[in-house]
Symmetry: C2
Subunit: 710 residues, 2 copies
């Protein structure tokens, strides 16, 4: 059951939607005074000079001086219009409404209270939405800013206290108080550092500073909070949220009911752990220490984690077993997903081996000098690699991702927030504990934080001032969702791999067969697998063509024909729906092109700039293709499956990026680094270098120590 205090234009459709879903809703409304004031003003102006208003310019009404109106009269005049509005709106959704006007006294008289209570229950039982308002016409309007008297007594002074009173009286589960600000801030909104409080616990009340003047009307935010606390004590949870933001108005109530992070939630129960904001801050602080450790110390942490993976094998596998059992009994995971969720002794061993390799790479990541310049005498500039800051890695069911990604973050000196799948909760918890144990050997335990499974990805993406880079590890759908949700935070990932193999008229038949087979069949679900095979038109009706088709048939690859290819065929495989399809399975599209140039154009039009291959014996054609194709990876006579950090020899692999800035293609540790410029002088000023100054720019390159690629 919900009671709701409505401010101005509240989102009525949500209420009707929820009502039709079987939720019981009551609305506590304001607006009668404002509504009536408009109406009375209009009436007075019309009666003052009806002829003038009708027969002269259109803006006449505004220019006339407006009378001061009495609030009670306004309330009376507005009430009928307000109810007509509610009635008309809810009728659109086949929802009936009822009008209830109450005064303070109705709650003091026991008989009246019982009557009100039973009337409301009866209306709700009949699926009718009660619209409740104070009877402002007979009761004086409340005195602004007068205190509520303690939390055990509450007077009906405004809609917030009325709503709180009614919510408790009716034993409502949730009271949503719509305001014209986002919620409760820890300092007056607009001041330095003012932050929206997501969840407010009664014990925290001391930490709030209220502004001297609030925009939220009678009683201000302080009175709203008191009402909320009163309702909370009476057993009703409360959310204070913005009901006026046009961007979210349509959704605010349904979002709150669905448990999304909107506004400020008042709760009795303080969760044990820190909030995600506190976790991020802890991670950043500890990450600064991590970044300043000696590379060997970072390597030691990673090796310690590798040791722990084998030392604590039993505990890890038993946690993993609990996850697998839960997944099996819920029956929600498919067989491939269960396989990804499952850990084994050998998986942990190879994980540990991988981690030790990352430990080696880590020696050449942070603090590398990329460039040195003598700007002038005794003025030397260095560009050095530094960590990016706080990374957020979101990964799906595979729990082995956790130690891998943690090792990469440690190696690059970054802080890390990890958000894993619910289905791997137990495994992730133990793996994270071990990671923190390893971090502890150099006092940076907090640099890697596991975010609670309750946190929504969308809420994490909101932390744009706190998170520097998001790395989604999982399906291309996950990557796309996160790219959409990440407002202002860069995302490193590839969303699609529509890779092409072009077989030139001068291709060697064996190489063509081998490369097509490897590119499509080695691991069809990989993003670097071939999706479209482009054949030079000269190959049609040649033995090579027949051999290619035979091989694909033997390998059970389902063929979809591109429009041109279909027009050449007498038999007809299914025609493609789109030339931009990522099959991710033993399926591919075949299309015919006139020439290498035509293949390049096709790839530019339908490709995803991931990896594209030419098979030809003609070097000039190959070089032309590789120069022209604008993809992260372009290969000549090699399988598309080589597009991979390990195969490229990058050491630790962070992922594959189809973005065009920062990192592109397979990404090693470098993708987790940025640079900073360090300048050492002796009191140099730019004025010294002006025309009349004493100094000259030299800009000499100073050799940098040889850098082993990480």
């Amino acid at each position: 059951m919900f009671a709701q205090a409505s401010a101005g234009q509240c989102p009525k459709p949500s209420v009707a939607v929820l009502q039709n879903q079987g939720r019981e809703m009551m609305i506590v409304t304001s607006g009668a005074v404002a509504f009536g004031r408009q109406r009375l003003r209009h009436e007075i102006l019309l009666s003052q000079s009806v002829r003038q208003a009708l027969h002269s310019g259109q803006n006449q009404l505004k220019e006339m001086s407006l009378p001061v109106l009495e609030a009670r009269a306004c309330a009376a005049a507005g009430q009928s219009g307000l109810m007509a509005l509610y009635e008309a709106m809810f009728t659109q959704y086949s929802t009936c409404t009822a009008q209830i006007l109450v005064t303070n006294l109705d709650f003091h008289d026991e008989q009246k209270r019982r009557n009100l209570n039973s009337t409301l229950h009866e209306l709700l039982r009949m699926n009718i939405v009660p619209i409740i308002n104070t009877n402002d016409a007979v009761v004086p309007p409340p005195v602004p800013n007068s205190d509520l008297q303690g939390v055990n007594v509450i007077h009906i002074k405004d809609n917030d206290s009325l709503a709180a009173r009614l919510a408790v009286e009716m034993k409502a589960d949730l009271l949503i108080a719509l305001s014209d600000v986002e919620g409760l801030y820890d300092s007056p909104p607009g001041t330095d550092d003012a932050k929206l409080i997501d969840i407010f616990y009664p014990g925290d009340q001391q930490s709030i500073r209220y502004g001297s003047k609030s925009k939220v009307g009678i009683g201000g935010m302080e009175a709203k909070v008191k009402s909320a606390l009163w309702a909370l004590q009476g057993g009703t949870s409360v959310v204070i949220a913005n009901g006026t933001d046009p961007k979210v108005t349509g959704h605010v109530i349904t979002d709150i009911v669905e448990g999304k992070k909107v506004g400020t939630f008042f709760s009795e129960v303080k969760p044990a752990g820190p909030t995600v904001e506190q976790q991020t801050e802890m991670a950043r602080q500890a990450g600064r220490v991590l970044a300043n450790l000696h590379p060997d110390e970072r390597g030691e942490i990673i090796c310690r984690l590798a040791d722990l993976l084998t030392e604590k094998k039993e505990e890890i596998l038993s946690a993993n077993k609990r996850d697998l059992e839960a997944a099996a009994s819920s029956g929600r995971l498919s067989q491939p997903l269960l396989a990804r969720l499952s850990l084994s002794s050998s998986k942990l061993n190879s994980l540990a081996i991988g981690l030790r390799q990352i430990a080696i790479s880590s020696r050449y990541s942070v603090g590398q000098v990329l460039r040195r310049t003598r700007v002038a005498n005794n003025l030397e500039l260095e560009q050095i690699t530094v960590p990016i800051g706080v990374l957020l890695v979101i990964f799906e069911s595979r729990p082995d991702c956790l130690p891998q990604v943690s090792a990469l973050a440690i190696a690059s000196g970054n802080s890390l927030l990890l958000k894993g799948g619910k289905e791997a909760a137990n495994t992730n918890r133990i793996l994270h504990q071990l990671t923190q144990e390893a971090l502890s050997i150099h006092g940076v335990k907090d640099a890697i934080q596991l975010v609670s499974t309750r946190e929504e990805v969308e809420d994490l993406c909101r932390l744009d001032k706190m998170i520097d880079l998001i790395i989604p590890r999982g399906s291309s759908q996950l990557v796309r969702d996160i790219q959409r949700a990440a407002k202002g935070i860069p995302v490193l990932g590839h969303s699609e791999g529509i890779c092409h193999v072009y077989i030139d008229s001068e291709a060697c038949i064996e190489k063509a067969i081998d490369i097509i087979k490897d590119s499509k069949c080695d691991y069809p679900a990989a993003c670097n697998a071939m999706e479209t095979l482009l054949l030079n038109k000269d190959l049609l009706r040649t033995p090579m063509f027949d051999q290619i088709v035979d091989m694909l048939r033997v390998e059970q690859v389902k063929i979809h024909a591109g429009p041109r290819f279909a027009s050449y065929l007498t038999f007809s495989p299914s025609e493609v729906k789109s030339l931009r399809t990522e099959y991710g399975d033993l399926e591919c599209c075949i299309e015919v092109v006139d020439s290498m140039q035509d293949a390049v154009d096709h790839i530019h039009k339908y490709g995803s700039s991931h990896t594209d291959v030419i098979v030809t014996e003609n070097e000039e054609t190959a070089e032309q293709f590789m120069q022209q194709v604008d993809s992260a990876c372009v290969f000549w006579n090699a399988s598309s499956r080589f597009a991979d950090g390990y195969r490229f020899g990058l050491g630790a692999e962070v992922g594959i990026s189809t973005a065009r800035i920062h990192a592109r293609g397979p990404v090693g540790l470098e993708g987790l680094l940025t640079t900073k410029w360090v300048l050492r002088g002796e009191g140099h000023t730019v004025a010294d270098f002006s025309e009349s100054g004493s100094m000259k720019y030299l800009h000499e390159n100073i050799p940098v120590p040889h850098r082993i690629p990480s």
Copy 2:
């Protein structure tokens, strides 16, 4: 005057707002049938089993079978509710409404037409919004999908044709037809390549394919377009837009009236030039050729442009004079902005010198080999630099930005869309012509496009599939606006420079004075100027402190005291409002810190990670500071003003970035480049490298040719 066809939940507040701004509005509404169907259904169900519905579960209503209802009865039943809704809503905005029901016949009878016309005019004159609907209760509902008979005759078969008829009849300027799709697409929405048409010209009608079934109701999109064309022929412009999207509903009508790009605009007048989408496509195509030119050829283009700047000096200065005169006569530009707008012979000369330097840098940009790896025998990998793709550079009044940015784009092989300020339109036009003239010498004229001044920045930021990087050049406000508007397109720029100078207890007094003076006073408006001076507490009440304050006083720097500094003072300069202020003028904040560590914490809390300076003679303290401060530039005993691409010796300067990925701090040509991976094999497959395979990864680094930093 506006006529509007409304679908479902149209945004009435907009109408009221516009009406109150003195616009004349009519609403052609639908919804009566749907409204009435809801109501009748409800009545029938209630009368069928009123007791059952009242006394059992809440979802009873849904589970009962619903009767089939006759449309005319629904219309009659819905009409009153619909009008009540309009009335109630408009009353909120003090706006009166009137109900008009019309039939086809009303337009055939001359007398009725005249009556209708004069009634509508009279209502509009009285500031009353006519709500117009077909009289569905007496006229049969229209037959779906029957064609309108030619464009010269139009029947009132649906709300679109009714609205078109009325708009022409009333000589409306604009008809807004709200639909449930974004507008008109060139192919059925959802198919490959379906693109929203921004502006539709009658001559283009052949290029549209309509879907067999449209979601837009009676008549479908084809009928909507026919109505729109009919209205257009009658002299009324038309916009078809989405009126149901909750994200934009609140704004759609006002946005359209303000001329923003929403939905599809039907216009008689086809503009001379290509659309911005066509320009982007042209730029990308020509850019691919540009990227594949020899570096010397790109250098030649830039040198040719440098020559043209001096050869065509007269024409450039005369165009600039026209802009200056227009700006002066409008009186809208301040003196500093006029100075920025103004070109001179000497400015053009130094511009040409700068361009020739970029031409030299350009030799070492595209196609540099950054890394070579022997992956296996005869399998060699190269990472080479390539252009990013299509850049959008948005710059404010300074027209000298245009050739500079163009030269940088040419040097890095990128395509470029230029969007300059309106006030420099004439100067930008001639400079762009000269740029294209220079590009023509190697046949890539279209690689750089000047976007018409009519285009809104927001609309350009919508082209996320076409533009790879946005570079705003101008005020930090411009950068922030664009970062907000750029959905999914990366933005390279710095939004704020809150630079700190920390004077350590072991600072040398002369260096401190020189560096503070240079950092603050050399060019106070620059982003690398000092905003906050942090003083070690040991310096208070020392001669150094007095000298610093005296110097600032002599230089007329206004001092704002941080909270701690204020507490030490007997005299009191104004206390800062926020420690995060970028003054950009001869003003700064002074704050006291306990130690170097305290200074680092202050910088992390209040800084913008741009440039921060320590002044000390203690090398260990300096190195600690430079290691810990997490900013793009950290300097020891040097002015913050050195944070600049030219002073760093980067050659051509793209800008300064405070982003943490891709490029950070002063950015040279490298910031406009990305990389691609080129792999050359002999038919290699990853299967060859499996445990049972014949090959082994070597991953040997092959030396790369020495690269001169660009």
